[in-house]
């Protein structure tokens, strides 16, 4: 048994099995809060704790799966390329909107962390949370955060955006399709885009474009913001 646990096969297998079950539950219940990443991660943590297996052992296989984050990030260029024509007409409002919105998010995270006395390492790990998981993890690592925490924060952010999107649009009277799409993609990446696609084709395409554009902007914006405030 020990030999099996200490081979990468264990980590790879348990991850894929847990993820398939998580995706199945998510699909059946259609509830954003039952997010496949969170469900499967919690299931795996539960099993590891139950059988007293440490993270290092699990990660012998886990890191083989994590490896694919890097090439998957590169191919994010493909949906961006397919949708880039949408930028042509309204590029100025879209780019300014994404930048201003992302910056507002950073300011709010900073202020709230100070008010609630959340420590620096948590604050840093929170900063990239609106970007897609790949960018969030990479940025977190680059700015001295904890990538594992950033991934979890990112998943929770996605769920929030997915659930709250419609209410926010109603309260703030955001009626325009382009604005809605950009807003969902910028604030809550892939899960926001899932909601945008339910709203309509234009919303979906703009949301998916905004994930990557917001990611690229944030990569530059976050280190600048940290420098500015001396975080």
């Amino acid at each position: 048994m020990k030999a099996y646990l200490n081979s990468p096969l264990f980590g790879v297998t348990i991850t894929i099995v847990a993820f398939l079950i998580g995706s199945y539950i998510n699909k059946k219940t259609k509830m954003a809060i039952l997010n496949p990443i969170l469900l499967s991660a919690f299931a795996i943590i539960f099993i590891l704790n139950r059988f007293d297996i440490d993270y290092e052992t699990y990660n012998l296989g886990g890191r083989l799966i994590s490896f694919f984050i890097a090439p998957a990030t590169v191919v994010l260029a493909v949906p961006l390329y397919k949708n880039i024509r949408l930028l042509r007409k309204k590029w100025l409002p879209i780019l300014i909107g994404i930048t201003v919105g992302s910056l507002a998010g950073l300011v709010v995270i900073f202020v709230l962390c100070k008010l609630l006395r959340i420590d620096r390492i948590m604050l840093i790990s929170l900063l990239p949370k609106s970007t897609t998981a790949a960018i969030s993890m990479e940025t977190s690592e680059e700015i001295g955060g904890i990538p594992s925490l950033s991934v979890a924060f990112t998943a929770v952010t996605g769920i929030c955006g997915n659930i709250l999107g419609e209410y926010i649009f109603r309260i703030f009277k955001i009626n325009d399709k382009v604005s809605r799409g950009v807003s969902l993609g910028t604030a809550s990446h892939v899960l926001g885009t899932a909601k945008a696609m339910e709203m309509g084709e234009t919303e979906g395409a703009l949301s998916s474009l905004s994930i990557t554009v917001a990611g690229i902007i944030s990569v530059f914006l976050i280190p600048w913001f940290m420098n500015l405030l001396g975080i």
């Binding site: 496949p36 886990g62 594992s148």
Partner: protein, 127 residues
């Protein structure tokens, strides 16, 4: 062989991104540089969509799976998170609402202002 060839293109671009990042000590992650390089190559049509379509579909379809092991990593920080998780949740919910509202409103207001200006400009040229 097709899948392998496509994977190879992506890995080479990724490597270029990582090497550039290390060589020039940039604050931008190598993967993001790789993405920007790929976007550029697609736009100048050095790389065509059909050269990378199957690998990108495979990777993007399984995107969420790749983040599971990293997420399991929070078990290492369990004690740290346990003490503050309610506060963290508050920060996440409020900041997500702010990003969404500010982004949406900015795009909507600017878009209206710009189209108004354009219409105004047309009227002037007519008169």
């Amino acid at each position: 062989m097709k899948g392998l060839r496509q994977l190879c293109i992506i890995l080479l671009i990724l490597s270029l991104g990582e090497i550039l990042q290390l060589r020039f000590n940039m604050s931008v992650p190598g993967t993001i540089l790789g993405m920007i390089i790929l976007l550029f190559l697609l736009m100048i049509k050095v790389v065509k969509l059909k050269n990378i379509d199957s690998i990108s579909t495979t990777l993007l379809n399984n995107f969420a799976l790749f983040f599971v092991p990293a997420n399991v990593g929070i078990m290492v920080y369990f004690e740290q998170v346990k003490a503050v998780w309610v506060k963290l949740l508050i920060v996440i919910i409020i900041s997500t609402i702010v990003v969404m509202a500010v982004t949406g409103l900015t795009v909507q207001l600017l878009d209206r202002a710009i189209s108004k200006q354009k219409k105004g400009g047309k009227h002037e040229s007519l008169s």
